[in-house]
């Protein structure tokens, strides 16, 4: 595949107005990255408000389905952060993240989601500055791409009802 499949459908997307704010979901592991994000706060580093953080115990818990669901529900971008390799609170939980995320990136491309909308980085508990910069970067990256609007696409094109949470239920 030479280019993302959804380039043809950009006409159906809402135009990005000057006030448009990208919506990004961040999945962060509790021990390193979430603490790193807290550290950015403690140091009063300012960064854009666009990344909404969801906390999991380990980045190994970040099921690729969580990422695709976030896109399906209207996220314009997704950020995944975990401990650096070797620092995982659960020894090797992040090794699985390291294996999964590049694959997920390929799948997203096949789904027509630009790779720039998804980022996977290691952020330690001490890297508050790295986290704040990362948020600024991905926000800018996604802002340049404009809205993704998968829910709108799915409705206008009649594909993937995907709105039904029952699929996830136990």
């Amino acid at each position: 595949m030479s280019e993302p499949a959804n380039t043809a459908s950009t006409d159906t997307r809402p135009a990005a107005g000057p006030d448009w704010q990208p919506r990004i979901i961040g999945f962060l592991c509790y021990w390193c990255s979430y603490t790193g994000a807290d550290m950015a706060g403690t140091a009063r580093m300012k960064y854009p408000p666009n990344v909404d953080i969801i906390r999991v115990m380990c980045s190994g818990r970040i099921d690729p389905e969580l990422v695709t669901t976030a896109f399906a529900r209207g996220a314009d971008g997704v950020l995944v952060c975990g401990c650096h390799i070797g620092d995982c609170h659960y020894i090797t939980g992040n090794h699985k993240t390291m294996a999964r995320m590049p694959l997920l990136k390929r799948i997203l491309l096949d789904l027509g989601i630009e790779p720039e909308r998804f980022r996977h980085e290691w952020v330690s508990a001490a890297e508050g500055e790295k986290f704040s910069k990362l948020v600024a970067e991905i926000t800018e990256q996604v802002r340049r791409l404009g809205p993704l609007d998968w829910p709108g696409l799915m409705r206008t094109r009649g594909v993937g009802h995907g709105m039904d949470l029952k699929a996830w239920g136990e």
Partner: protein
């Protein structure tokens, strides 16, 4: 399904309607100066099932906590959300408030609107919107929370101490004195470790073996102590409170009926180098390292023994058995103390002439020579030549610099200070001045670090009594060469910083390398107990100041020089600290752990075993009868990696189920949905 319900999920989800209370904190302006908290409360209050949405100046204060308790009772709240600081600060505070009000503490959700909103977002409107989204997500998630109970694990009232050196002995003694049953495991056939190889000890000049003998007597005669020598840890399972450790015990080959010890040892034709004397002498395959060792009987070194039977025949077959096989036993213990100690640094070939000149020895070898019970009966003689002059070179294998020192086999240099060698070196220098006043001593150093109480006296006394100090530049290491003039066997060439970089040549009989300290190789134990290891390869404590003798693995403690270079005083202090931490844990009787573990839905599990491969703790096995995965709850630490991996969604992690996290995603993005908001109803 009720029968399958886990014991730590004591009740089914409440049948009554979900009643959510939302409490938003001003944090005295820390939050409310940026986030319009009243607006957030108002917005969230409109969501279904939210019975109460209010704000308070300080939620964590006593009145704030009381407000939560009151409202739970008054309004019959069965879910509580607090939007305040980071959960790392006060999640526990609010969970306790829930407990006090009679609500399960895990029906609580903490939203971080300070560290991750008010302190990082400049625009007030954007901050208020973000806070609203995050609280809204918590409302979505909290509907799916279920009451959970902390896991309780009983602690077996016993300890396993690995390592029979001074640290292991002190830890064992202290634990036994507190009434704990202790198993002490030593890898070699004799107790005492490195301390047994010393002669006198700084700073009191006491006799090492005499002191050690007293300590060993206290340990081995204690009724609560079991000692296994020649025992190796081969596997370990379990967690805090319930460790099961398998030991392989090599047979000693000798028992107490052997009375003619000297005759048996003399009869042995096999010789090997003596580890005890650091290779200065040789010993037999049936041996005792030194006369006062414990146990007071020889052991057979099975690597050198050929089972020729000569020892057996000279003593008439009494007390020696060459046919014994290794035994395996299992030790059940509540806690584990690691006291695996250190090894002296072994100089590489060519390092300060080591291996090239027989006149270059290590500090450890010198100490053996100075020991009246040592290979030369305390005479300062090397290779048959009396020593008239000697040079100490400090920091061999310590405080090394990348690009200057040869890298170690690991590829790194030992850049840490080995701490004990400065005082030990000066202690030996003084010993030599006392006993052999004619010997000329040079001390070639980077820095002298005699840091402990009484240690500096050794430096002062050495300088007063004629030790010649030469300070080298670590970028220009001293070189050891043949003495071209032939006065002495070797010459040390060094640039002296004390005399404005004068090039000095020091001809001497012996060069003593004050070799540093490296951790004893315990890579198997490191894997077994999942120990954290520092950049210097020593074991790493949880926190150097707040939790200095604990490993991150709960129930495993560190004693002595497995944690870093320490002298005996420090080893004993660390061992005593480890013993008291371990005893305190045992005295507690049980430990509580968070309930966020994973659980398999057997009806959904296809038995593909993918989860087995991802679990970092090997907590998942396959039930061969049912063909499904089974999670050992005692081993599961709740990372959730298996839950993310399961292709059938058959594994759920309590507190982070798919439904719960998906609801959070959905509610964060609720305003992006073209369809109306989904309301109420649990899908679990």
């Amino acid at each position: 399904m009720t029968a399958d319900r886990p014991p730590h999920r004591p009740q089914s989800p409440p049948a009554e309607a979900i009643r959510i209370g939302v409490f938003i904190c001003h944090c005295g302006g820390n939050i409310s100066d940026v986030v319009d908290v009243r607006r957030v409360a108002e917005e969230v209050g409109r969501l279904p099932d939210v019975v109460l949405s209010t704000t308070h100046m300080f939620m964590c204060s006593d009145p704030g906590q009381m407000l939560i308790e009151e409202k739970i009772r008054e309004l019959g709240l069965n879910r509580v959300i607090v939007a305040a600081c980071s959960p790392t600060l006060h999640q526990l505070t609010f969970r306790r408030a829930l407990s006090r009000a009679g609500l399960n503490q895990y029906l609580f959700e903490h939203v971080n609107i300070r560290e991750q909103v008010s302190w990082v977002v400049e625009d007030k409107a954007a901050a208020t919107l973000k806070a609203t989204r995050l609280v809204r997500a918590a409302v979505g998630r909290i509907r799916h929370l279920q009451p959970l109970a902390k896991r309780r694990i009983m602690i077996h009232p016993s300890a396993l101490v690995i390592g029979g050196g001074v640290a292991g002995l002190v830890a064992t003694r202290d634990l036994a004195k507190r009434g704990m049953r202790v198993t002490l495991v030593e890898n070699t056939p004799f107790l005492g470790g490195r301390m047994a190889q010393l002669y006198t000890l700084f700073p009191s000049n006491e006799d090492a073996k005499e002191l050690l003998g007293k300590l060993i007597a206290e340990v081995v005669h204690h009724p609560l102590v079991t000692v296994h020598t020649g025992a190796q840890v081969i596997s370990s399972s379990g967690i805090v409170g319930d460790f099961r450790t398998r030991l392989r015990i090599s047979p000693r080959g000798v028992d107490k009926h052997l009375t003619q010890v000297g005759i048996a040892m003399a009869a042995c034709p096999e010789e090997t180098i003596s580890e005890y004397n650091f290779g200065l002498t040789r010993r037999k395959a049936i041996y005792m390292p030194y006369p006062g060792c414990w146990p007071q009987m020889p052991a057979i070194d099975w690597r050198s023994c050929t089972k020729c039977g000569k020892c057996l025949s000279v003593v008439g077959g009494k007390g020696i058995d060459l046919s014994q096989e290794p035994q395996e036993i299992e030790i059940h213990s509540g806690v584990i103390v690691l006291a695996t100690g250190y090894d002296p640094y072994e100089p590489m070939f060519g390092e300060y002439g080591s291996g090239i000149f027989p006149e270059v020895i290590t500090l450890q070898q010198l100490i053996r020579i100075l020991d009246p019970e040592g290979p030369t009966a305390g005479q300062l003689v090397l290779n048959g030549r009396p020593v008239k002059s000697m040079a100490f070179i400090h920091c061999a294998g310590a405080r090394q610099y990348e690009g200057i020192n040869m890298p170690q086999p690991s590829g790194k240099v030992n850049d840490y200070c080995a701490r004990t060698c400065c005082t030990a070196t000066l202690h030996q220098a003084n010993e030599i001045i006392d006993r052999f006043p004619d010997v000329v001593i040079y001390d070639i150093y980077q820095d002298i670090r005699t840091y402990g109480r009484g240690h500096e006296n050794y430096y002062e006394r050495a300088s007063e009594r004629g030790v010649r100090f030469i300070r080298y530049d670590p970028r220009r290491l001293p070189k050891v060469r043949h003495d071209p003039r032939g006065e002495r066997p070797v010459v040390v060439m060094v640039q002296d910083l004390l005399t404005n970089r004068l090039d000095v040549e020091v001809p001497v009989d012996v060069v003593v390398l004050a070799t540093g300290v490296i951790p004893h190789d315990i890579s198997e134990l490191v894997d077994m107990y999942k120990c954290a290891v520092g950049y210097d390869s020593f074991l790493l404590e949880v926190h150097p100041k707040l939790r200095p003798v604990e490993l991150a693995v709960s129930g495993v403690f560190l004693a002595g020089s497995c944690q870093g270079p320490m002298d005996i005083t420090e080893c004993s202090a660390a061992a005593a600290a480890a013993a008291s931490k371990a005893a305190a844990l045992i005295a507690q009787g049980q430990v509580e752990m968070d309930p966020f573990i994973a659980r398999v839905n057997e009806d959904r599990c296809s038995g593909c075993q993918t989860c087995l491969t991802v679990c970092p703790y090997e907590a998942i096995t396959r039930d061969p009868r049912k063909g499904v995965a089974v999670i050992n709850e005692a081993l599961c630490t709740g990372c959730g990696t298996c839950a993310a991996t399961c292709p059938s969604n058959a594994i759920q992690q309590f507190g982070f189920t798919d439904t719960q996290v998906m609801a959070e995603v959905e509610m964060l993005l609720a305003d992006m949905m073209p369809a109306p908001l989904p309301t109420g109803g649990s899908h679990e």
